[in-house]
């Protein structure tokens, strides 16, 4: 904008920052970094000039593990084979099919090898830089202050080879923006610890109270764990409970009924043709996929409390049977917590707790692959303890909610007694649902905006809906409140947002 008057106004065509010496910008782009940047903290800032010329004394790029092209190739091979159906293969001739497979496999591995050769990462100051691409080179710099979650994933193949994938989530991407696949487990663990520490908002990664605490997880299971857990163990979900919780789902409970009806039909028809039986089995498999996947994904779910940096704390979840995941979420990144009480779990007084983080698609997308469980299944006491920890100020036993006015009964004959809102000390809570009860809690510090919406029918009935928008997930919604109450609620919410904001400054 403000060009220096000394250069006789040549508008923006020749940017020569070396001569003009702009007074306002503090980080002058040209001088190469001070020579004593041996990795640690003080680099803080000066933007890199020209991504392709790392002339500064930055730590050297590191490559991913040499086996990763093989694994990535195998991964893409699976996809391709899945695309070519087996029926096509048989019409093809098996020899040709085998040759095709080999060609594809070699191609995929060569492609991954080239990719691997050109991929590198290093930590510069408080940034993680990832270089990749052969033709379209790309350097991605991720400021670690913006880190939302870190996850160490180990798919089955990676478990067999002792490797792991490190995934970073930042705001602004629907998908994972920075997967580092693959590293050795030790490297992934070390890198994760370093990133998590750097991600704290103060530069105190030397004086962390926890330096070499041994993993304190009681390991009674025969499960081949990757011991990435450091930190104070909070809770372990019993696998028996997990299995039972998935048995107590509509799919599983209705399954015998469906199978029985099919069998009765068979017995009346009198002939057992194999195709019918096979298709029945396939249908059973399809129905059972979701519960079975949940059991596999959440197997041996463990939760630990880890220090991030300074007073910062984070939660670490480790779970999975075939693919193990190990996820670290700084507590100040939690945008919302959703507690669900399914109908069939009510006899056991169980609940499920999920969280949403910016940058990760939130709960309610029906995507079982998401890592959003804080507690896959737990009793009331455990749930209460963990939600208090994850979201200070949210005490499930003490949440009070106010219902909508009684005239709403005409709009929601069943649900109206369950629709409630509550302004707690630090969180806003909304409840809903008759069969599957749900509670959404959003801390005031994470509310992005508040909206009051009034449709035509609502105007006739003097009602309005209050929406609370958050970054991840669907936000919270208080439908059909009395219109005056809705205005007051919106005002109270914005006042509390400001108060919470002022408190954190």
């Amino acid at each position: 904008m403000t060009h220096e008057p000394s250069t006789t106004d040549q508008p923006a065509a020749t940017d020569q920052p070396s001569t003009t010496e702009p007074p306002a910008t503090s980080a002058a782009p040209v001088p190469p970094e001070p020579p004593e940047t041996q990795g640690p903290p003080e680099t803080q800032g000066p933007p890199v000039t020209g991504a392709e010329a790392p002339a500064e004394a930055v730590p050297p790029r590191q490559r991913l593990h040499p086996l990763s092209p093989l694994l990535n190739g195998a991964r893409s091979l699976v996809v391709i084979v899945g695309a070519i159906s087996l029926s096509q293969a048989s019409s093809f001739g098996w020899e040709r099919f085998a040759i095709l497979l080999v060609v594809i496999a070699v191609g995929a591995v060569v492609f991954s090898l080239i990719n691997w050769w050109n991929t590198g990462y290093h930590i510069v100051g408080r940034e993680l830089r990832i270089h990749d691409g052969l033709i379209w080179r790309r350097t991605r710099a991720i400021p670690l202050e913006r880190l939302q979650t870190v996850e160490v994933r180990r798919p089955l193949l990676a478990q067999l080879t002792g490797l792991a994938e490190l995934r970073l989530e930042v705001v602004g991407g629907g998908k994972t923006e920075a997967p580092l696949a693959f590293l050795t487990v030790a490297d992934a663990e070390a890198l994760r610890e370093r990133l998590v520490r750097l991600s704290g908002d103060v530069q105190t990664h030397d004086q962390l109270p926890f330096a070499g605490t041994p993993p304190a997880v009681e390991s009674a299971e025969s499960y081949p764990r990757n011991d990435l857990d450091l930190g104070f163990p909070l809770h372990t979900v019993r696998n028996a409970d997990l299995v039972l919780s998935q048995v107590l789902t509509p799919q599983t409970l209705l399954l015998p009924l469906g199978v029985a009806s099919v069998l009765v039909q068979f017995s009346f028809a009198g002939d057992f043709n194999p195709i019918a039986i096979f298709s029945t089995l396939a249908a059973v498999g399809g129905v059972m996929l979701a519960p079975a996947r949940r059991v596999l994904n959440d197997w041996s779910f463990r939760l630990a409390d880890v220090p991030i940096s300074g007073e910062g704390r984070g939660l670490r979840m480790a779970y999975g049977l075939l693919e193990t995941r190990n996820q670290t979420v700084p507590l100040h990144r939690l945008q919302a917590v959703t507690v669900t009480w399914p109908l069939l779990w009510r006899a056991k007084r169980w609940m499920r707790v999920r969280f949403s983080v910016a940058g990760v698609a939130g709960p309610g997308d029906g995507n079982e692959q998401q890592s959003d469980r804080l507690l896959p299944v737990g009793d009331a006491e455990t749930g209460r303890r963990l939600t208090v920890l994850a979201m200070p100020g949210l005490d499930l036993a003490a949440v009070r909610v106010a219902g909508p006015p009684p005239r709403v009964r005409w709009l929601h004959p069943f649900a109206w007694s369950r629709m409630g809102v509550g302004l707690n000390r630090t969180v806003f809570t909304v409840t809903k649902g008759v069969l599957t009860r749900e509670l959404v809690a959003v801390p005031y510090t994470r509310i992005q905006s508040v909206r009051v919406v009034q449709g035509p029918i609502q105007r006739r009935m003097r009602l309005a809906t209050v929406h609370v928008d958050t970054v991840g997930g669907a936000g919270a919604e208080a439908p059909d409140r009395d219109v005056h109450e809705a205005w007051a609620l919106a005002a109270a919410l914005s006042a509390r947002v400001h108060a919470a904001q002022a408190a954190t400054m």
């Binding site: 009070r400 106010a402 809102v421 509550g422 909206r451 007051a488 914005s494 400001h498």
Partner: protein
């Protein structure tokens, strides 16, 4: 969970009092948008009507089916109703800059009010299409990190739009958090 307290429980902190005679959003000093926006909206409506009618008439001539005639009638009716309502719709737009947040309200059929704290602002857009430019208007839109937030103020004079933009960015620069 079970204990549902009395209805005005959310107001326990005493920050807000419900006064049924002057409910809260009316006590805020709302600024209207420029009435020239009516013309912008009318021209926009006319363009749409012409396109739709053209397509329908062509269809009618080619296919000679009574449904197309009915379609023409419906579109005309809708256009007429919309043209009558536009004036009120534009007058329903309003915005208010409070100390720490921006309020925007709009809509007749579905009434909406958005409250966006300045601190949650990610960026501000000022846009002006050819139609708006010809009436010397601009639109300011405030974006937060949440996709659902909508805080859009159309029909501002360019001077007012840039003033609003500058004020928003200045206030938002203090601290952007909440992620």
């Amino acid at each position: 969970m079970d204990a549902v307290t009395e209805t005005p429980a959310p107001l326990d902190s005493g920050e807000v009092r419900i006064d049924p005679l002057s409910p809260w959003p009316d006590t805020v000093e709302w600024k209207p948008v420029s009435h020239d926006l009516i013309w912008v909206e009318l021209v926009r409506l006319a363009i749409w009507l012409v396109i739709l009618m053209g397509a329908l008439v062509v269809g009618w001539v080619l296919a000679d089916h009574w449904l197309f005639g009915a379609g023409v009638g419906l579109v005309l009716l809708f256009g007429l109703w919309r043209a009558i309502v536009i004036g009120r719709a534009v007058r329903a737009w309003g915005y208010a800059e409070r100390d720490r947040d921006l309020l925007v309200r709009h809509g007749l059929l579905v009434r909406r009010l958005s409250i966006v704290p300045y601190a949650r602002m990610q960026f501000v857009d000022v846009t002006a299409g050819p139609l708006e430019r010809s009436f010397d208007l601009a639109t300011v839109q405030l974006h937060t990190a949440a996709a659902a937030s909508d805080a859009k103020v159309p029909g501002l004079r360019p001077a007012e739009a840039s003033r609003l933009r500058d004020r928003l960015t200045a206030l938002g620069a203090d601290r952007a958090e909440g992620l």
